[in-house]
Amino acid sequence: MNSARLSFDLVVVGAGPGGLAAASVAAERGGSVALLDNSPWLGGQIWRGEQARSAVPLARQWIERFLASGARAVMQASVFASPDRGVLLAETPAARLTVRFKKLILATGARELFLPFPGWTLPGVVGPGGLQAMVKAGWPVAGRRVVVAGSGPLLVAVADGLRRYGARIPLIAEQAPQLRLARFAAGLWRYPDKLAQAVAMKARLLGIPYRAGVWLRRAEGGERVERVVLTDGRRSWTVECDLLACGWNLVPNTELPRLLGCALASGFVRVDEFQRSSVEGVFCVGELTGIAGADAALVQGQIAGLAAVGETEAAREWFAERSRWHRFGAALTRAFALRPELRQLAKRETVVCRCEDVSREAVERCRDAREAKLHTRCGMGPCQGRICGAATQFLFGWESDSIRPPVFPVRMESLLTASEHPKPVSNLSDPTS
């Protein structure tokens, strides 16, 4: 296997808005900066596909700024371990990288929260953000009927995007009640960019049925989803579809910060005013520190990037704007809080752990995530509990199990860490384990 050693003053992990901003502002002030991301594209999930042909001015602006900044992009690199202070290991399709850093900014973003419900394992049931990303990479939706369901502002944005690719949207079903959303929308005037987005979308969305206070009960079909059953709590009805895009807000990707020892508070990485985590030299930005969207991530990324190169006064200039986006994030969280009925969607026989096909019934008998892992295999599969762990946290209030490298599945050979010239290995008189 190929292996390469790289060394930088600053390493940024995650090429979404937060990571792009952090890497750009730091590189513009000199010093060697690298930006690592596990996908082939700059922009992260939110701006996926914008590198090639951008429809979002802000995305184009930041990607161009990054490309001109002198920072180095290391793409398709999954960071999976940190064997020593100041060292990350990453795997690319061709090589194992040993990446040394003096400062580290983590911008690993968020994934969608998937809640188990009958039929959620059928092919064609996809996360809204995930479907949007796949459509930008060629997934065909023209002429397909896509029901968009779950919760969060992403649903509207995704439906809008899918329609531009030719999809038909029979319904957007938002679980949050209408009253809460109305209150949220009324407060949007404080955030001009968001407001502009909302208005523009609303105009284009004329004709897409949008129902608040409606949620999924189940998906049905043979080898793929063919219809969904929705409810408003009083009555249920069926909608035919070819795809179901459903997700219930976002879950921060805290695996890497937790591996590095960063302290968490209420599920998010705890940071100070300069985005510094509890670990010396490690900063966290974006959804890792609280769900507040791309605008918040851009501001936090600039603060962290500036602070990391010692420009703390310049960083301070962004504090006021960050506060504004934090208030926006808090309002977002309140508006789209999940209704308790969603805990009852999964039936006894519904699969909770998709990697290992473990039912709710089996998982529910356990006291915590670790016991479920040991005795039902829940969370034992290649997703390492990323999907079922977030679900069991919502369903049962379970904290996730301890974290160990590799934080992503990697080739066995990528776990080799010592020098390319191994020391002599001594063996055992009793090699059984």
């Binding site: 006291r367 040991l374 160990r404 599945p409 080739r411 191994p422 290995v425 001594s426 384990s433």
Partner: protein, 378 residues
């Protein structure tokens, strides 16, 4: 459980579970306490290899007897236990190791253990993933594999006397009392006729001076790659480099799981308290494995973890009454053979507690053999 239990067992690992099962079968009421879940300590950090070993006559006697008990138990094991009689393949890299294969084969055959000596071509045919040019190997036909946490769970709850066993996970024990009861961390006293320390690497916490030391081991498991290997494969190569033995050591050991996953060991470290992954040891362990299985490096690793074995100075477990009190018993110190020898341990402990004639001679395993103090380790 309304009345006081006859026996309280500290440790719901596979050894504690096997002791509970045997005592319950004999009609005793058993309480099992563990600070974590069932099978969550050393049991969760072991490979689950059921193997006959020949390091000493006493080790052979215990492993052979216990493997027989596993074979008898096999028909009742649920699918979750993943019992798989895949056999062990001890591989010989060269002629000196092949001589060891013949010695081992003779030893086993004399004692009625089914073995097959494989020449180089036979090894290549049996395990095509091994690097070419192996001198040969020894197949121990009736060795097997289980998933240890599920096995421990089964021993506790799925037999005819399960109602005599009460398991209380998440309960920390602070002390074993000389009157046979225990004191919990919250101060509660639980009375019982006999207390059994089956706390594995943590048993010295409840028995100061007990000559049991933590010996750390690492494991890595792959995604599903069914058919990559077919036996539990272990190297014989340690003989050649015995002079190079250091405090930390590794050996090639791979196990095919019924799920199609490959479980890879093994490492041994004294003086390593935490269960964090040691990148250097992992590196050495995997390099050793890749030497034997060149294609292993391309498989997808989904998890690595580490745990502790309970090591004794003479590599034999402690099964019997402690020197501290005749109402405090020990079932600990199984090092890397706890899954194999758990069932025999349970039987021998129950035999002694109940005053029955032991199934095999117990003297080599009695705690009294090591004296009371901390005997220095080899």
């Amino acid at each position: 459980m309304s009345a006081a239990p006859d026996i309280v067992i500290v440790g719901a690992g596979i050894v504690g579970a096997a002791c509970a099962r045997e005592c319950a079968r004999a009609g005793l009421r058993v309480l099992v306490l563990d600070r974590g879940p069932v099978g969550g300590g050393t049991t969760a950090a072991g490979m689950g290899h059921i193997v006959v070993m020949d390091d000493s006559p006493a080790q052979f006697a215990l492993t052979a007897f216990s493997r027989r008990l596993w074979q008898e138990l096999a028909p009742e094991l649920p699918a979750a236990v993943e019992y798989d009689p895949c056999g062990t393949l001890w591989v010989a890299a060269d002629e000196p190791e092949m001589a060891e294969v013949h010695r081992k084969a003779a030893f086993y055959r004399e004692r009625g253990v089914r073995v097959e000596v494989l020449e180089g071509d036979d090894v290549a045919a049996a395990e095509p993933a091994l690097r070419p040019g192996m001198a040969g190997g020894l197949r121990v036909v009736d060795d097997a594999v289980v998933y240890p946490p599920a096995a421990a769970q089964h021993l506790l709850e799925s037999q005819e006397n399960a109602r005599r066993i009460e398991v209380r996970p998440g309960v920390t024990v602070a002390a074993l009392n000389e009157d046979g009861g225990v004191t919990l961390a919250d101060g509660t006293r639980v009375s019982a006729g006999v207390a059994v320390n089956a706390a594995g690497p943590w048993s010295p916490l409840l028995a100061p001076g007990l000559p049991v030391r933590k010996r750390k081991g690492h494991l890595v498991i792959t995604d599903r790659h069914p058919g990559f290997v077919h036996h539990q494969i272990v190297e014989l190569g340690y003989l050649k480099s015995a002079h190079a033995v250091t405090a930390d050591s590794v050996a090639f050991n791979i196990q095919p799981r019924k799920t199609g996953q490959m479980l890879i060991g093994s490492s041994r470290q004294f003086g390593a308290e935490g269960t964090e992954i040691n990148a250097e040891i992992l590196d050495r362990m995997l390099r050793r494995a890749f030497e034997y299985l060149p294609g292993l490096g391309r498989l997808s690793a989904i998890r690595a973890w580490a745990g502790h074995r309970a090591a004794t100075p003479d590599k034999l477990p402690l099964i019997g009454p402690s020197l501290a009190s005749d109402r405090i018993w020990l079932a600990t110190g199984h090092e890397g053979l706890g899954i194999t020898t758990s069932l025999a341990t349970g039987r021998l402990l129950a035999d002694q507690v109940l005053g029955r004639a032991p199934a095999i001679p117990v003297e080599p395993y009695l705690p009294a053999r090591l004296g009371k103090g901390d005997t220095p380790h080899a």
